[in-house]
Symmetry: C2
Subunit: 407 residues, 2 copies
């Protein structure tokens, strides 16, 4: 393994780090939860507020191109998915988008032959809540099984749709989505994948994976800003309807026709008026990825997580932490989770020292290695601080036990 300085000096993505606005005293390992501010975004939002809204007023729907924002942002996001922009819709939240694509793909399902909507135990909660809601609507039963049981469960042949998240939000376990899609299709099952912890960090190629639909989030590795819009992708072989039919998904919204007629391809999954300020921030943030290949992001994410795991193995033996993420880098996303009995307090102590990761209950320390943001030197520094916190028991202080709302 190269030393960190050499790895950074030879990193083909090193220039991306300079595009972020990050406080000097922070080592940010939480880009998997909220990506940091990209330079240019603040100016774009300022312009949208002052000039476009404040001065242009209603005229900006045309003059500033607000009406084309969903298509423009989809065009910027599509390369990160290996996708045709026409098959991508940037809109709503990840939850709402999962609802829409699951609703679309279960319409007219034969609930006698295929009564099951399948997911994975431990999938991100909102995915399970959404799936439960769709199952209720469609007369399906939501069933969840452990990761290793998915293939067998599919083989029973009674599953209408499988929905999984590529990278587990806690462990960082990464599915082989192409293999899962093959198994699903062999069993006559459709598959919808959530790429919340993939897009902007890992190599994604939706058409090659041949899934039926995908959804994802843009406020993590895409750095769109807090609560920035979600997106969805639907395989062009599906000419399906969204249950949530709104005017921005109409083929001609400004004809004000009383009859709904879906827009072509994924644009039909737009619904309400797009959130212009949020979309503007996201559009500006996505410029970061111009000309960046997702395989290079993937390779750097792997190198960073390998370095972190190796350093933890080497330096944290006997300090009460254990690597929970898969040790096979091909089975791991851009994050690493460590288990510790007092994980919340340890993370609080790390954050107090400028190393920002996060905590997931009950006992996980979660570190994200956004490949556009994190340097190899940051990984070394984070482990230095982690070792210091663990050996000094700095975390064993009541100040680090106060629980806020969001953990």
């Amino acid at each position: 393994v190269l030393d960190a300085a050499t790895a950074d000096a030879t990193d083909p993505l090193a220039h991306l780090r300079d595009r972020f606005v990050l406080p000097d005293d922070v080592t940010y390992l939480d880009g998997n939860s909220l990506g940091p501010l990209v330079s240019g975004v603040a100016d774009a939002v300022h312009r949208a507020v002052h000039d476009e809204w404040g001065t242009g007023l209603i005229r900006s729907w045309n003059d500033a191109g607000w009406v084309d924002l969903p298509a423009r942002v989809a065009a910027r996001l599509a390369p990160l998915l290996g996708a045709d922009p026409a098959d991508v819709a940037v809109t709503d939240s990840t939850s709402a988008n999962l609802f829409k694509v699951l609703g679309a793909l279960t319409a007219g399902a034969d609930t006698t032959a295929r009564p099951v909507l399948l997911s994975e135990q431990g999938n991100f909660p909102t995915d399970l809540y959404v799936a439960a809601g769709v199952a209720d609507l469609r007369g399906l039963a939501l069933e969840t099984v452990p990761r290793d049981a998915l293939a067998d469960r599919l083989a029973a042949g009674d599953v209408a749709v499988l929905t999984v998240t590529e990278v587990d939000y806690r462990s960082g376990h990464r599915h082989d989505v192409a293999a899962l899609a093959e198994a699903a299709h062999a069993a006559g099952t459709r598959i919808v994948v959530d790429l919340a912890h993939s897009t902007g960090a890992l190599a994604v190629d939706l058409p090659a994976w041949d899934v039926d639909a995908a959804v994802g989030c843009t406020y993590k590795y895409c750095n769109g800003g807090p609560g920035s819009p979600g997106y969805l992708w639907v395989h062009p072989r599906h000419d399906v309807r969204t249950p949530l039919q709104g005017w921005f998904g109409h083929e001609a919204p400004f004809d004000f026709s009383p009859e709904y007629a879906p827009a072509p391809a994924a644009a039909r999954f737009l619904d309400g008026t797009p959130p212009v300020l949020s979309m503007t921030a996201l559009e500006a943030a996505l410029r970061l990825f111009e000309g960046v290949d997702t395989t290079s992001l993937d390779a750097k994410a792997r190198a960073l997580t390998e370095r972190f795991v190796a350093l933890v193995d080497e330096r944290c033996d006997g300090l009460g932490v254990e690597v929970v993420s898969p040790r096979d880098p091909a089975a791991r996303g851009a994050q690493v989770a460590l288990r510790h009995d007092d994980a919340f307090a340890v993370m609080s102590a790390l954050i107090a020292r400028g190393v920002i990761g996060d905590h997931r209950p009950p006992d996980l320390l979660r570190f994200g290695f956004a490949p556009a943001v994190v340097r190899h030197a940051d990984v070394e520094h984070a482990v230095d601080v982690l070792v210091d916190v663990l050996t000094s028991r700095a975390w064993d202080d009541p100040a680090h036990r106060r629980r806020p709302t969001v953990t």
Copy 2:
């Protein structure tokens, strides 16, 4: 009728106008489509981008109170609805919110006894698209009848839910919602009202009206910014489930429980991660209404529209325009529509002269009189310019016939 100068000098809401950032050369009569920028909003958004996101990063979910934004904004919006904040959720788009409340109120409907989802012909298109989608999901038939036939249609007793918009987006016709709710309930029908063209301009009292649910928009008279979040209100007598079950609507999102359990009251209708930048703009914009009674907004809207109608009657005779909006001010919202054979070109000529209203196909000029924004003097000026455009045939110029995407 008072002269405009005296009316403005004695207007108890006159101070609100000074809170808006408006170009000097604009007379803005399109606050019913996009409310103008409120002072303080730009600074709040700047802070959210630079300080909260850029510097605070993930910590701002707690430290900057992002996690409480939906509740804080609901508390600011509730007085404009006469509502308890607990019954209000600020989230998603108006379209998505209508989908959720219609979905919630039609769950378990007896589709044999009550097979109809009823709406009004000419209701805003997205409301009809959403209703058609929900009807499909629930095995109901969407039926639309003219405004005057709603009461009779309800009396047939086979309508599960009625959904109408209080103020018609074209004509400005205003329903007596309380009377409609009474008729609906007498027929065993639930009623959902869209307040997109009401909230922030008219007197709204949802509990007194006794509707079952309401939805609305915050980028019009609430000045939340382009595409700002929608909202919904559900009568506290209804303990219903949303079809779109997401994690921010869970009773304890950060417990990451695999089982969905709805949050209390309307908060269960939240779903995805809230759009922080858009919510921040809206929160700042709603400060405008602190201490403002909706009956005073309603009274001023009425005075402004009455002045406009009177001046058009007096000065536009024989100039090719006709008042389409109801002449009874009690049956009219805060807007007035005029019909003209070349409405698009006339509006284009008005906008070129700084009087910004909008056009709705095929032949309507639409003028909005946001009571917090518009002065009586603005009404006089707008009619001056209208008379000038019509008498000079300034609109009859090819430059005013180029159609943009959004009209």
